[in-house]
């Protein structure tokens, strides 16, 4: 991105001045190097988001922002329904409530190394991953609706999990306001056999080792010590979310003119929050959030089963579960005044600061755990939400590394076998049904996630707590 088009606010924040149809400025967070390397399309898309009705304060881009559809990936924007604010299917993304959850295990690296191959094989055997895979759970119509209303709480009632899990999931595991009537029969049919499946692409289950602590106090508060073994799961709302996203994107694009909304580009398809279509999408999208929460809950249950077989003393307690493709109604302070805003986070993680009432009691004084997935060959990071982040970007931070290379280029530069062998030589066992999938997800095809999380840290969006490195990777 051309820095000449930006005003520098400080070392890690940059402003796109409000011009033309923009109702507010754009603000990008990141080091000069990250912003310079950022796609020009982020500038264009962020400027376009800033033109949408009812947007409050600014359109924000996280340090890992890149070209998306409509909103940039790594985009955050809040809208006030009282000011004609909109909701956008492209501002949430197709994989509604895609996110990451991290579990403690109580195990040591030595225990994992001794049984690493058995663990990798057992997880790969038990966790349905990749295109065309199906789960063991098949939902009838009534159960589908119950799942869409109940989220992880529904999964728990069906025996997948322990009651303590729920407090460690956003919305206590159940997004309220889900309206199953607004989810099409096609979307439900697409989900029928996909509960408890990982999906493909960049989704994964990893067994990880804590290799560096940056903040001892926060780490202790989160129950993290050096050399701990953690399990992280990255996936979303599967076919149901994808179908909801596809259907509403078109409906919103076609209805925009009838709502009096002038779109600079039809990919920004949106509807007023206070319209039938806006409310309909909100109800469907919230059902999609519950689907993702239920899905990660079932996958957790499957992982617990595998660990229980191999390590009977392991305890997979949930550290936290974050979602990074959502639109949520939240209370925020705007010029000292409390307002209820619909905050879109597309490829951005909620990162509520210390004291926020949405956080469970033991974590509340410290801020929300912010779980950032890296690549299968590098590292992932855990951060904590900050007080300043609440005002700098509505309590939001980055979500991952972001690709630096297209999938096409990755298959030209890497083979799956080569990537798998190189990682195995470094003690990382990768299991996937597809070699091409591994090649496309080669660590070299991604930006350095360390740059992204340090930028989020320096921009005071979240504080770095620790680094974890993979030992076992299950890829879809």
């Amino acid at each position: 991105m051309d820095l000449g088009k930006l005003e520098k606010i400080d070392e890690n924040s940059w402003r796109i001045p409000q011009t033309g149809a923009m109702r507010v400025p754009g603000v990008l967070y990141g080091s000069e190097a990250l912003i310079r390397a950022m796609d020009d399309k982020v500038h264009e898309q962020l400027s376009n988001v800033a033109t949408l009705p009812g947007i409050v304060e600014a359109a924000y881009a996280m340090p890992d922002a890149h070209w998306g559809y409509g909103f940039p990936i790594g985009g955050v924007a809040a809208f006030d329904p009282e000011q004609g604010g909109i909701i956008s299917a492209g501002g949430v993304g197709f994989d509604i409530s895609c996110g990451v959850r991290t579990l403690h295990t109580g195990l040591t690296p030595r225990e994992i190394i001794d049984r690493q191959k058995d663990l990798a094989d057992a997880l790969f055997h038990r966790i349905p991953a990749g295109l065309g895979s199906t789960g063991a759970i098949h939902l009838n119509d009534a159960e589908m609706d119950a799942m869409l209303r109940g989220g992880a709480a529904w999964a728990l009632e069906r025996g997948y999990g322990v009651p303590e899990d729920l407090a460690h999931i956003e919305e206590n595991g159940r997004m309220s306001g889900a309206d199953t009537e607004q989810v099409s029969a096609l979307a439900k049919k697409r989900q029928r056999d996909e509960m408890g499946t990982l999906g493909s692409g960049n989704h994964y289950l990893e067994v990880q080792r804590v290799t560096e602590i940056f903040d001892e106090t926060l780490a202790a508060a989160f129950g993290i010590r050096l050399d701990d073994i953690k399990v992280s799961i990255h996936c979303g709302s599967r076919g149901l979310g994808h179908q909801i996203g596809s259907e509403y994107l078109k409906r919103m694009a076609q209805a925009a003119a009838s709502h009096g909304i002038e779109l600079p580009d039809r990919e920004l398809a949106c509807a007023p929050i206070n319209s039938d279509l806006g409310q309909s999408y909100l109800g469907a999208m919230r059902a999609g959030i519950n689907c993702a929460l239920a899905n990660r809950q079932i996958l957790t249950h499957l992982a617990r089963g595998v660990f229980g077989d191999l390590f009977p003393h392991a305890r997979l307690d949930l550290l936290y579960d974050v979602s990074h493709n959502t639109c949520k109604l939240e209370e925020h302070r705007v010029n000292g005044e409390k307002r209820m805003l619909h905050v879109h986070r597309k490829g951005a993680t909620r990162a509520f600061g210390p004291g926020h009432p949405a956080l469970p009691e033991p974590l509340r004084p410290h801020g929300q755990p912010v779980l950032i997935g890296g690549t299968m060959g590098t590292a992932s990071y855990i951060l904590a939400g900050t007080e300043e982040g609440m005002t700098r970007a509505w309590g939001s931070a980055c979500h991952g590394a972001g690709r630096s290379m297209s999938r096409h280029q990755a298959t030209r530069d890497y083979t799956g076998r080569q990537v798998q062998d190189e990682l195995a030589a470094r003690g990382i066992l990768v299991r996937s049904p597809t070699q091409r999938g591994i090649a496309e997800e080669a660590p070299g095809a991604y930006k350095d996630v360390a740059d992204v999380v340090w930028a989020a840290h320096h921009a005071r969006l979240a504080r770095l707590v620790c680094k974890v490195e993979p030992m076992v990777v299950i890829k879809g």
Binding site: G132, T134, H242, A269, T434, E440
Partner: protein, 140 residues
């Protein structure tokens, strides 16, 4: 000289752009579908043994392309199939098509990604010279 129908991918860092070329919109749609399959696996690896019919309607060719690709995504997901051959006819906003394929065989097809849906980004169907070009970014 008339260029033969063909397809290509265009670069989009996170996702993938699919573009079909042909002498008619219908042929360009068919090639765009092939380009979408190629984001998942080698189209030639798919045995065209089962036919699935499609009927869609939209007066706007752009939205018809969006619906076509999304209908294929839906059938791939719910039937757990991959499609490698397409025949498309378009008349007065009515699309009638057949896609041929087979159930996913992970070992043989080596599917790399699962297509989530077609997006409005870079969506267009237009005639350039004597060629029709149908394209959009798909979320993978």
């Amino acid at each position: 000289m008339h260029q033969a129908a063909h397809w290509e991918h265009f670069e989009h860092v996170a996702d993938m752009g699919v573009r079909g070329f042909g002498p008619t919109p219908a042929e360009a749609f068919s090639q765009a579908a092939l380009a979408m399959t190629a984001t998942i696996c080698e189209p030639d690896s798919i045995n065209p043994r089962t036919a699935v019919p499609f009927e869609l309607e939209d007066d706007d060719l752009d939205y018809l392309l969006l619906d076509w690709l999304n209908a294929l995504v839906y059938e791939m997901a719910t039937r757990r199939m991959l499609f490698g051959r397409f025949e498309v006819a378009i008349e007065d906003g009515q699309l009638r098509a057949t896609a041929w394929g087979e159930p996913v065989d992970v070992a043989r097809h080596q599917p790399a990604v699962e297509v989530k849906g077609a997006t409005l980004t870079e969506l267009s169907v237009q005639q350039i010279g004597d060629q029709w070009v149908a394209q959009c970014v798909i979320d993978v």
